[in-house]
C-alpha cells in the first residue's frame, strides 16, 4: 500500500506540472490563436488603409470570442457523399498533431511539457508533419474536386519543403551538437552568438520552407481562395473548419518556435553574453509599461462606459505584466544578496518574454509577406523548392560542416566562427544559384502549360 502511495506521489510530482501545462496548452491555445488572428487582421487593416474589426469590444478586442461563439453554434454540415468517419477524423488529426508538437517546445528554461526529450527538435518536426494527413484525408473525404486538388497540392508541397526545412535544421544543429531543445539554447548561450547569425543561409531556407509548410501566402496554394475556393477546407464549415484554422495557426506558432529555438537564441536576450548590453533586461518592463500608459491615455476616448472599463482592464493587465517582468531585474538592485535567489525567475520570466517576442516577430514577418506578395503558381512553387531551396540547403550543410572543421582547426569560438561560416554561406548561395541557372538553361523556356511533373 505504502509503495503504491509512494509511486503515485512520485508520479504526481513528476507529471503534474507537464499535465497542467498540457491542459493549459489545449485550453488556452485556441484563445491565443484567436488573438493572433485578430492581430493579423489589425495589421492587415493597417497596411491596407482601413481599420479592421472595430465593433466587438474597444477596437474589436473581443472579436475572437464572438467569432468562436459564432463558429460553435453554426450548423454542422457533412456533405452527403462524404466519407463520414474520415471527414470527422481529419480536422481532429490536423489539430491534434499541431497541439502535440507544442509539447516538445520550451518557452523558457522552466516551461516545457515533455521535459528534456533527447530528440527534441526531431520530435517537433516529425509530429507537426503528421498534420498533413489531416489535410489529405480531409480533402479526399469531402468528395469534392476543389478539396481534392487542394489536398494533392498540399501533400506535394509538404513533401518538397519538408526536405528543405529538415536540411536547414541540420545546418543549425551542427553547431548545437544536440537535438535537445534546452541544450540547443544553452549551446547558443555558451557560444555567445545565435546560430541564425552563424548559418544565415540555413535560417533563410528554413524561413521560406516554413512558410510553405504552414500553407501561408505566398505559398498558400492548398487553400488558394481565388482558385480553389478554400482548397481542402472547402466543404468544412463551423467547428470543423475552425479546427483546421486552429491547426494552421498552431503550426505557425510551432515553426516560429522551432526557428526561434534553433536560430534566434530561444529565450536568450540579444547578445546574451555581452555584459554592457545588460540594460536590455529592462526593455520588457519598459515596453509593457509603455503599452499600459498608452492604454490609459486611450481610456477617456472610448465612447461607452463599458469600453472605458475594458480599456482600463487592458492597461491594468499591461502594468501587472510590467511588474512581473520588473521584479527579477529590480530586486537585485535593492538587495544584492538576493541575486542568486532571483536568478531562476530572472531566466524564466524574462526568457519567456524574449521567446514570445521573437516568435511574434517571426509570425509578424509571415503576415507581412502575406499582405505584400502575390501567390506562386504550383509549378513555380515546385521549381523553387526542388531547383533552389533543396540544393541550397544540402550544399549549406556540407559547407557549414567544412567551416566548422576549419573553425576548430584554428580554435575559433563564438563570434570568431563568423570568419569561416560567412564565406561558407556565400559559397553555398553561389553554388545554388549556379545550379538554378544551369537548370533553367538546360530546359528550354517551357511554357507554363507543360506541367507534366507538377506532382512529381
Amino acid at each position: 500500500m505504502q509503495a503504491v502511495t509512494q509511486v503515485t506521489t512520485e508520479f504526481v510530482k513528476q507529471y503534474w506540472a507537464p499535465l497542467l501545462c498540457g491542459f493549459a496548452i489545449v485550453a488556452i491555445l485556441p484563445l491565443i490563436v484567436g488573438y493572433v488572428v485578430l492581430v493579423e487582421r489589425k495589421i492587415m487593416a493597417d497596411m491596407q488603409a482601413r481599420l479592421g474589426p472595430m465593433r466587438v469590444g474597444p477596437h474589436g478586442l473581443l472579436q475572437p470570442i464572438a467569432d468562436a461563439v459564432k463558429l460553435l453554434i453554426k450548423e454542422d454540415i457533412i456533405p452527403e457523399d462524404a466519407d463520414k468517419l474520415v471527414f470527422w477524423l481529419a480536422p481532429v488529426l490536423s489539430v491534434g498533431a499541431a497541439l502535440l508538437a507544442m509539447a516538445g517546445l520550451a518557452i523558457g528554461p522552466a516551461f516545457q511539457i515533455a521535459k528534456d526529450i533527447n530528440i527534441g527538435i526531431l520530435f517537433v518536426v516529425g509530429v507537426s508533419a503528421l498534420g498533413i494527413f489531416g489535410i489529405v484525408l480531409g480533402g479526399w473525404a469531402s468528395n469534392s474536386h476543389y478539396s481534392l486538388i487542394g489536398a494533392l497540392r498540399s501533400s506535394a508541397q509538404l513533401v518538397s519543403y519538408e526536405t528543405a526545412a529538415g536540411m536547414a535544421l541540420v545546418s543549425g544543429l551542427l553547431f548545437a551538437g544536440t537535438l535537445n531543445v534546452t541544450s540547443i539554447v544553452q549551446a547558443q548561450y555558451d557560444q555567445g552568438i545565435w546560430f541564425g547569425l552563424l548559418a544565415p543561409v540555413a535560417f533563410f531556407t528554413y524561413l521560406v520552407a516554413s512558410i510553405a509548410e504552414t500553407n501561408r501566402a505566398p505559398f498558400d496554394l492548398p487553400e488558394a481562395e481565388s482558385e480553389l475556393v478554400a482548397g481542402y477546407m472547402t466543404e468544412f464549415s463551423g467547428f470543423r473548419w475552425s479546427l483546421y484554422f486552429l491547426a494552421e495557426y498552431t503550426n505557425m506558432i510551432v515553426v516560429a518556435s522551432v526557428a526561434t529555438t534553433l536560430f534566434l537564441g530561444g529565450w536568450l536576450r540579444p547578445f546574451p553574453r555581452t555584459h554592457w548590453l545588460d540594460f536590455l533586461d529592462f526593455l520588457p518592463m519598459v515596453l509593457m509599461t509603455g503599452i499600459g500608459i498608452y492604454g490609459l491615455l486611450r481610456v477617456p476616448k472610448q465612447p461607452a462606459r463599458v469600453q472605458q472599463l475594458f480599456m482600463l482592464a487592458v492597461a491594468g493587465m499591461c502594468f501587472a505584466a510590467a511588474f512581473v517582468l520588473a521584479a527579477p531585474v529590480l530586486i537585485p538592485f535593492f538587495k544584492s544578496s538576493l541575486i542568486a535567489a532571483v536568478k531562476p525567475y530572472h531566466d524564466g520570466i524574462l526568457g519567456g518574454f524574449w521567446f514570445i517576442f521573437k516568435v511574434s516577430l517571426y509570425i509578424y514577418f509571415f503576415m507581412w509577406l502575406r499582405f505584400t506578395l502575390p501567390r506562386y503558381r504550383f509549378d513555380q512553387l515546385m521549381r523553387l523548392g526542388w531547383h533552389f531551396l533543396i540544393p541550397l540547403s544540402i550544399i549549406n550543410v556540407l559547407v557549414i560542416g567544412v567551416a566548422m572543421i576549419l573553425g576548430s582547426h584554428f580554435h575559433l569560438e563564438g563570434w570568431q566562427l563568423l570568419l569561416t561560416t560567412i564565406p561558407a554561406s556565400v559559397l553555398a548561395l553561389i553554388i545554388a544559384l549556379f545550379i538554378l541557372n544551369a537548370e533553367q538553361k538546360s530546359e528550354p523556356q517551357r511554357a507554363s502549360g507543360d506541367a507534366s511533373d507538377t506532382y512529381a
Binding site: 491596407q48 482558385e227 502575406r370 506578395l373 503558381r377 502549360g449 507534366s452 507538377t454
Partner: protein, 380 residues
C-alpha cells in the same frame, strides 16, 4: 503549350498517365469568376485541356426591354450592363440616339462628358487592377484601388447624386450643370493619383512572383485577337493600335493629346501594363479637359418627346473594356424598334478558351481577371 497544333489535335491529346480527365465546375458561385460566370474546365491534373464558358446567369433581357420603353426611359437601363463603368455606357447610348436624331451635344456638354467618362475609365481600371491582383493572390492593392475609386465615385455623387448607376448624361447633352468645384475636385484627384499609381506599380510591376504569374500566360497574338473580335486593352496588348477615341473620335476627344499604349506579346503582363498606362493617359486627358471648359448651354434643342426619323444607326465608343457599340433601329415612333448592344466583355470572353488551354488552374483565374469581364454586360 500547344498553340501551334490544330484544334482537333488538341482535342485528342492524351492525359498524363492515361488518367481520366477531371471536370471542374468553376462558378457560377466562385470567388474569382467576377460575378456569375460558369466555366466548365476539363483538367488533366491541374492542366486545362478544354474549357467551356457558360453564361446567362445574369440575363435580364436589356435589349428586349428597350423595345418597350421610350428613348429616354431606356437610358438608365444601359447603366446596369457594365455597372462598374455606367458613365461610359450612358455616353454610348446618348450619342447613338443623338446620331439618330441628327443633333449634336453643345461643346460644354461634350467636355464635361469627356471628363466624367475618363474618370470612369480610371475607376473601372482600378476595379480591374484590384480584383486581378486579388485573384493572383496579392491582397493589398485591392484596398488601395478602392480608396482611389472612392474619390472618383464621390465626384460622380456630387455631380449627379448617384455613385454607381449614375445616369449622368441625357440625350442631347446634360441635365445637370457642373457643380462649382468640379474642376478643383478633378484636379485634386489627378494630382494625387499620379503618385498613387506609382505605388501600385511598385507593388507589382517588378515583383518576381507577379512576373512569373503573368508573363507568358494567356498569350493572344494580334491576328488571333482580331479574328476573335477582341477590342480594348485586350486587343491593344497584342500590339494592334486601335482605339476608337483616336480612330473615330467622339465627345471631345479630338481636342486632347494622349497616347495609345500598345503591348508586344499579348500576354497577361502586357495587358496589365497597357491598362496601367491607360490610367495615366486618362488622367492627362482629364487634366487637359479641366483647363478649358467652354461656357454655353449644356443641352441641345431636342423635344420633350423624342421621335427620331425612321432609320438605323451604329455608334461605338471606346468603353474601358473595349468597343461598346449600340445599333439602334427607329421606326419613327417614341420607342426604338430594336436596340442591339455590342458589349466588349461578351466578345472578349470568346478569347478565353484560346487563352486558357494548356495552362494551369491558377492561370485560369489570372486569365478571367485579365479579360476584365463584367457579367452584367456579358449577359445583359
Amino acid at each position: 503549350m500547344a498553340t501551334d497544333t490544330t484544334k482537333d489535335a488538341r482535342e485528342k491529346q492524351k492525359t498524363l498517365l492515361g488518367a481520366d480527365e477531371l471536370v471542374l465546375n468553376m462558378g457560377p458561385q466562385h470567388p474569382s469568376t467576377h460575378g456569375v460566370l460558369r466555366v466548365k474546365l476539363k483538367l488533366d491534373g491541374e492542366r486545362v485541356i478544354g474549357s467551356e464558358c457558360m453564361i446567362g446567369y445574369l440575363h435580364r433581357g436589356v435589349e428586349k426591354i428597350a423595345e418597350h420603353r421610350t428613348y429616354q426611359q431606356f437610358a438608365p437601363y444601359v447603366d446596369r450592363m457594365d455597372y462598374v463603368a455606367a458613365v461610359s455606357n450612358g455616353l454610348g447610348y446618348c450619342e447613338a440616339i443623338e446620331k439618330l436624331l441628327m443633333v449634336e451635344a453643345p461643346p460644354r456638354a461634350k467636355v464635361i462628358r469627356t471628363i466624367l467618362t475618363e474618370l470612369q475609365r480610371i475607376a473601372s481600371h482600378l476595379l480591374w487592377l484590384g480584383t486581378h491582383a486579388l485573384d493572383i493572390g496579392a491582397l493589398t492593392p485591392l484596398f488601395y484601388c478602392f480608396r482611389e475609386r472612392e474619390e472618383i465615385l464621390k465626384i460622380f455623387e456630387k455631380y449627379c447624386g448617384a455613385r454607381l448607376t449614375t445616369h449622368a448624361f441625357r440625350i442631347g447633352g446634360l441635365q445637370y450643370e457642373a457643380y462649382d468645384t468640379l474642376e478643383k475636385d478633378v484636379e485634386r484627384f489627378c494630382k494625387a493619383f499620379e503618385s498613387r499609381i506609382t505605388d501600385y506599380e511598385e507593388l507589382l510591376t517588378q515583383n518576381r512572383i507577379w512576373l512569373g504569374r503573368t508573363k507568358g500566360v494567356g498569350i493572344l497574338k494580334a491576328a488571333e485577337a482580331i479574328a476573335l473580335g477582341a477590342t480594348g486593352p485586350v486587343l491593344r496588348a497584342s500590339g494592334v493600335k486601335w482605339d476608337i477615341r483616336k480612330a473615330m473620335p467622339y465627345a471631345a476627344y479630338d481636342q486632347y493629346k494622349f497616347e495609345i499604349p500598345v503591348g508586344t506579346t499579348g500576354d497577361t503582363y502586357d495587358r496589365y501594363l497597357v491598362r496601367m498606362e491607360e490610367m495615366r493617359q486618362s488622367r492627362l486627358i482629364c487634366l487637359q479637359a479641366i483647363e478649358n471648359i467652354p461656357s454655353g448651354p449644356i443641352m441641345a434643342k431636342v423635344g420633350k418627346v423624342l421621335k427620331p426619323p425612321p432609320g438605323e444607326v451604329y455608334h461605338a465608343i471606346e468603353a474601358p473594356k473595349g468597343e461598346l457599340g449600340y445599333y439602334v433601329i427607329s421606326d419613327g415612333t417614341v420607342q426604338p424598334y430594336r436596340v442591339r448592344i455590342r458589349p466588349p466583355s461578351f466578345v472578349n470572353l470568346q478569347a478565353f478558351d484560346k487563352m486558357a488551354r494548356g495552362h494551369l488552374v491558377a492561370d485560369v483565374v489570372a486569365i478571367i481577371g485579365t479579360l476584365d469581364i463584367v457579367l452584367g454586360e456579358v449577359d445583359r
